[in-house]
């Protein structure tokens, strides 16, 4: 697979003022990124997750040429972010905050045409593309209303359309569903999945671990400016040795051989923790059948990305 985004040992520090009363202040150096390296392959949805202030947005801003790193190098679509910034900018569609970046007295369409023209489209080309995109993001007639009348969900849709106006091969989406209601968030997620199917490479950040797990091919966990884990969600769970939980409900029987808890329907439920859920489940069912137990529901609970995240971040 072709490497489409490469970050090598990115370092970025910021100076921050610590106020100590009315006149006194100390300059504090904050290392936002400390030798961050990763690769993203073509057509992949790659998520960057981490606590607030971990360095996610800094990474996106460096890759989108908005910030200059102190050290290290990065390539986007084969172009150097420091030496060929305009080529990088042409290759990416960007969402930094789904509700920002618009002229609120202008309509959605007018905003899209504006951004299209910034990327070199003529007015008619930009308008044509904008009209197509508002249909794709399901904004419809609302696109002809001024943005100050938009809900957060509508702004998020418009943000996606804005990022796609010049049909870039790469999308950087920094928390695209933050603050959205479940339905709007679901629509945005569906859109992201469709875009990935079309072959676009997506770098996503989100605090919604379920969303990250559902959407991403690979996930990198960043904490205090360091990438502390990277891989598919399954790989990360295996690496951390997180266990699956098997639940089997027993109907009309008293269970003596196994430890049970009381289930939702008042029946005993056998709970077993394992790292090999299918093998363990098969053997358990065999055993229970032999012992003539009547089985109710059977459930395998996967360890969640939230557990992965918590374990990695808390350990570090």
């Amino acid at each position: 697979m072709k490497e489409i985004i490469v970050a090598n040992n990115l370092v970025k520090t910021f100076k921050s003022k610590e106020r100590k009363g009315l006149f006194k202040s100390n300059i504090k150096i904050i290392k936002a990124l400390d030798k961050v390296s990763f690769k993203i392959y073509q057509g992949e949805i790659f998520s960057l997750v981490g606590p607030n202030g971990a360095g996610k947005t800094t990474t996106i801003k460096i890759l989108s040429t908005l910030l200059i790193p102190d050290e290290g190098e990065a390539f986007v679509n084969g172009f150097d972010v420091l030496k060929q910034p305009n080529k990088v900018r042409e290759s990416i569609g960007l969402i930094l905050a789904p509700d920002k970046g618009f002229y609120v007295r202008l309509t959605g369409i007018e905003n899209l045409v504006y951004y299209g023209r910034l990327y070199g489209l003529s007015k008619s080309e930009a308008l044509k593309r904008a009209e197509k995109l508002v249909e794709i993001v399901n904004l419809g007639k609302d696109a002809y209303r001024t943005v100050d009348e938009y809900s957060l969900g509508m702004k998020a849709k418009l943000s996606i359309a804005k990022a796609l106006i010049h049909d870039p091969p790469i999308l950087f989406l920094d928390e695209p569903t933050v603050g959205l209601d479940p339905l709007s968030a679901r629509r945005i997620r569906m859109l992201i999945t469709e875009l990935a199917k079309e072959g676009k490479t997506i770098l996503l950040t989100s605090h919604n671990m379920w969303e990250v797990e559902t959407l991403s091919d690979r996930v990198a966990v960043i904490n205090k400016g360091n990438i502390v884990a990277i891989g598919s969600s399954i790989e990360l769970k295996e690496k951390l040795g997180l266990k699956y939980i098997i639940e089997v409900e027993i109907l009309n029987n008293e269970v003596k051989e196994y430890e049970t808890t009381l289930g939702e329907r008042g029946n005993p439920v056998i709970k077993i923790t394992t790292d090999k859920p299918s093998e363990k489940l098969m053997s358990l069912i065999e055993e229970l059948k032999e012992k003539k137990y009547n089985l109710g529901y059977i459930r395998i609970i996967e360890p969640s990305m939230e557990e992965v995240f918590a374990k990695i971040v808390e350990e570090k």
């Binding site: 910021f14 908005l66 042409e90 007018e110 910034l118 990327y119 489209l121």
Partner: protein, 260 residues
């Protein structure tokens, strides 16, 4: 080239549309020079006990118009930067393949047209009231003169915008500078009434020359001799572009003043 023209037109046209949807604000700005000039004219009449000539009112209204334009011009780019940062528009603009000079030129042209249209409306009405159609040609020439002086004003405008990037809030930068501009430029009184150090300060800025040349062109005619400071004042324009680019790069892209 086509790409640059498109980018230029994109920035210019959205700023224009945004302004057109705040027509009330534009009307209010046009009303201000009339308000202040009638006010000072009335006070003058009250103190002297006689009605001054309309030429005195004309002196005042042209002064107040150029003052209004100067104040708007001083802070427009600072406001653009601040609003751009608050609304996130500036980040998206800087993340697009748009050359920074195109951004500067497009916003400068928009600001210039905005300023000139205020001057055109107020100045035309005032000229016709005082001189009838006799001085219309002079008035049109004065627009040209004002346009020339907008270039050094633009330089100051960009320096203020650059300082706003560091200070984050435009008010702390713009208000002291505006006070100096108002006090030392002789918009509504002759600069010679001021103490020498304030006169020198006023003469080192383009605003005094702008208002004097504009008034003189309408009342008498264009006098190239009085345009002598213009080449030197254009250094403000060059300095403005250089300082803005340096500070934008250093504070927005290198230091990341606006968070991470």
């Amino acid at each position: 080239m086509k790409r640059y023209i498109n980018q230029f037109l994109a920035i210019f046209s959205v700023e224009m549309k945004d302004l057109m949807r705040q027509a009330g604000q534009f009307g209010f700005i046009i009303f201000l020079p009339f308000l202040f000039s009638f006010f000072t004219f009335g006070i003058g009449a009250g103190i002297s006990g006689s009605t001054p000539s309309l030429e005195i009112w004309f002196y005042q209204i042209i002064g107040f118009t150029v003052l209004t334009i100067s104040l708007i011009f001083a802070e427009s780019s600072a406001g653009y930067v601040r609003e751009g940062l608050l609304t996130g528009r500036l980040e998206y603009l800087l993340a697009s393949p748009t050359h920074p000079l195109i951004i500067v030129i497009a916003t400068a042209l928009f600001n210039s047209i905005f300023a000139l249209s205020i001057f055109f409306i107020v100045g035309m009405i005032a000229t016709i009231i005082v001189y009838g159609v006799l001085k219309i040609l002079n008035f049109i020439l004065s627009i040209f003169i004002l346009t020339l002086f907008l270039l050094p004003m633009l330089g100051i405008n960009l320096i203020i915008a650059a300082l706003t990037i560091i200070a984050k809030e435009p008010a702390g930068i713009v208000q002291p500078i505006n006070s100096i501009i108002i006090a030392t430029s002789g918009f509504v009184y002759p600069i010679t009434l001021l103490p020498l150090f304030l006169q020198s300060l006023g003469r080192s800025l383009p605003f005094h020359y702008a208002v004097e040349n504009v008034r003189m062109t309408i009342i008498e005619f264009i006098n190239l001799l009085y345009l002598y400071p213009l080449p030197l004042l254009l250094l403000y324009f060059i300095a403005g572009i250089v300082i803005y680019r340096l500070l934008e790069d250093n504070f927005i892209r290198k230091r990341g003043t606006y968070g991470w």
